[in-house]
């Protein structure tokens, strides 16, 4: 309750007290949009936290050890995730539905394993970011740009091709859509955005370690996207905002978060697969394999 009274009564005090949370809202929204891209293209991939870790570690190492200016280091982190997505995507995108999900979970685990066993990434000790800043501008500016581009994209040839691939990949092929290429494009763009969100997050948090990139977190992102719905770009943003703020508003929700997410996900899939914001696109279609 105090959360809302302060928000309305003392906005500046609220901002100071919750700056990190506000930055996290923006970053989680970006992360959820990275999953929105692959879900729109009909792929249930859970590699997002893996790419996030790649973006975070690459940008921190470039910035702290390599003295690359911060904005460039963040962009390079995003790019690194995108480049890595290509060799991962070639074998993995041959899979569909739940099998694709499992393979991409595996990728996230491999990334964490690699970080834990490589001296330069600090192994289990993590990396510190001495000149981190909790400025909200980068996250929110990026969010506005990314959301706008994705919103406009829905009406373009590319957006429609992704829709077609999701709805019926074989029929899409028959209409001249190179399904493998469009899947790969969505996977790589999703990885770039996840890597970007990871790099931004690293630079507001002063410290990163592998506890940020867990399986629970990627499931959380899937729940964000599903709650808001993937029929509209606003869906993932609304979903991630509600569920990121929830533990702050209702303290006890923090201890039961994973259980709560599980219940929310099951309830959504059964009762409202199109999410809170609706639209014609439901989450059910995505987990399914193409049938002949």
């Amino acid at each position: 309750m105090q959360f809302f009274t302060q928000l309305l009564g003392d906005p500046l005090g609220f901002y100071r007290a919750h700056q990190l949370l506000l930055a996290q809202l923006g970053i989680n929204a970006l992360l959820t949009l990275s999953m929105y891209i692959t879900l729109r293209a009909g792929m249930l991939t859970l590699a997002n936290v893996g790419f996030m870790a790649v973006g975070a570690y690459a940008s921190v190492l470039l910035h702290v050890n390599g003295h690359v200016p911060l904005p460039l280091a963040v962009l390079a982190g995003a790019l690194a995730a995108g480049v890595l997505a290509i060799p991962i995507g070639i074998p993995v995108l041959r899979l569909q539905g739940i099998f694709l999900a499992i393979a991409t979970i595996g990728f996230g685990q491999v990334v964490v394993g690699a970080i834990l066993n490589t001296p330069v990434t600090g192994e289990g000790r993590g990396l510190t970011v001495p000149d981190a800043s909790s400025s909200l501008l980068p996250a929110y500016l990026s969010l506005v740009v990314v959301a706008y581009v994705l919103w406009r994209l829905a009406g373009t040839r590319l957006g429609k091709a992704w829709d077609a691939v999701r709805e019926d990949a074989l029929a899409a092929e028959a209409q001249g859509i190179d399904v493998a290429r469009y899947r790969m494009l969505a996977f790589v763009l999703g990885a770039v955005l996840a890597g970007y969100a990871g790099a931004l997050e690293a630079h507001i948090n002063f410290f990163i370690d592998t506890s940020l990139y867990t399986f629970q977190r990627v499931v959380g992102v899937l729940v964000f996207a599903t709650l808001g719905g993937i029929g509209r770009v606003a869906g993932p943003v609304v979903g991630s905002t509600i569920l990121t703020a929830l533990p702050e508003v209702i303290r006890f929700a923090q201890s039961y978060r994973d259980a709560l997410y599980g219940v929310i996900l099951i309830a959504l899939v059964i009762f409202r697969p199109q999410g809170l914001l609706g639209g014609r696109v439901g989450i059910r279609r995505v987990g399914r394999r193409a049938k002949l």
């Binding site: 829709d163 074989l170 029929a171 209409q175 190179d178």
Partner: protein, 256 residues
């Protein structure tokens, strides 16, 4: 336009398509008939790149295309419909047709993202073409509905409009009138003749023999993966080998 020589496709021990030679000339409308399981759909899948032949060659518009993926054949001008309707269910009727244009349009996305006037104009033009196609197959006033909300017969017609959106040089129709009522069949029959008269080369796989006789100048008959007859419909349907394929040996003699 289309030339098959010795095309063979086996599934384990099943010879689904077994050494078929078939040539379709430009502007022809060829019927492809045969009992269930005779290999008609497999043949369509082979021609459209959804399956690849174990042996034999396929040439489309002069190029050897065996091994091409379907999207490449679509870009080359080969469109098809499916025996079991495969629409983009959640997309609007209009968007289904617009997606159908994918293989013959290029770029313009950056312009759309930036909201350029030229991009908007070309999008409007494409939407206009899509509406014309919908009108052509008799689907007016439903363009904003989800494709899944259409009645079955309308869905089949939408699939045809989507295939035509490619502006194909050749159209493969896999049982387009299955499950339709006689009035709908008559309308499609007229549409097929019209499209053919405009020069579109077509192959029509159909069990509806009256339709085949009505619209096709030439009919090929498959049985157990082999071509057993090929010629004008009247002659082919008189052929005792064809009667035997459909009705069996003793059945064929009873009919005669």
């Amino acid at each position: 336009m289309l030339e098959l020589a010795g095309v063979t496709r086996h599934f384990g021990g099943v010879k689904a398509v077994d050494g078929i030679d078939l040539a379709v000339r430009e502007g022809e409308l060829v019927g492809l008939i045969g009992p269930n399981g005779s290999g008609k759909t497999t043949l369509i899948d082979l021609v459209s790149g959804f399956q690849h032949p174990d042996r034999g060659t396929i040439a489309f518009a002069g190029s050897p295309v065996a091994g091409w993926r379907p999207h490449r054949l679509a870009e080359a001008g080969l469109a098809r419909t499916f025996q079991r309707v495969r629409l983009f269910a959640a997309l609007s009727v209009l968007d289904n047709v617009l997606v159908g244009m994918h293989g013959r349009t290029r770029g313009g996305d950056l312009g759309r993202l930036l909201g350029l006037r030229a991009a908007r104009a070309s999008a409007r033009e494409r939407a206009g073409q899509a509406r014309e196609l919908l009108e052509r197959v008799g689907l007016t006033g439903v363009e904003d509905r989800a494709a899944s909300a259409l009645a079955y017969g309308q869905q089949r017609r939408l699939e045809i409009a989507r295939a035509l959106a490619l502006r194909p040089r050749m159209l493969l129709l896999d049982e387009p009138v299955a499950g339709m009522n006689p009035a709908e069949v008559a309308k499609l029959s007229a549409l097929f003749r019209e499209l053919n008269a405009e020069g579109l080369t077509m192959v029509l796989v159909e069990h509806h023999l009256r339709l085949v006789v009505e619209v096709c100048a030439r009919v090929a008959v498959l049985n157990y993966g082999r071509k057993i007859a090929d010629g004008p419909p009247a002659a082919v349907l008189e052929d005792p080998v064809v009667a035997e394929a459909y009705l069996g040996k003793s059945g064929a003699s009873e009919v005669r």
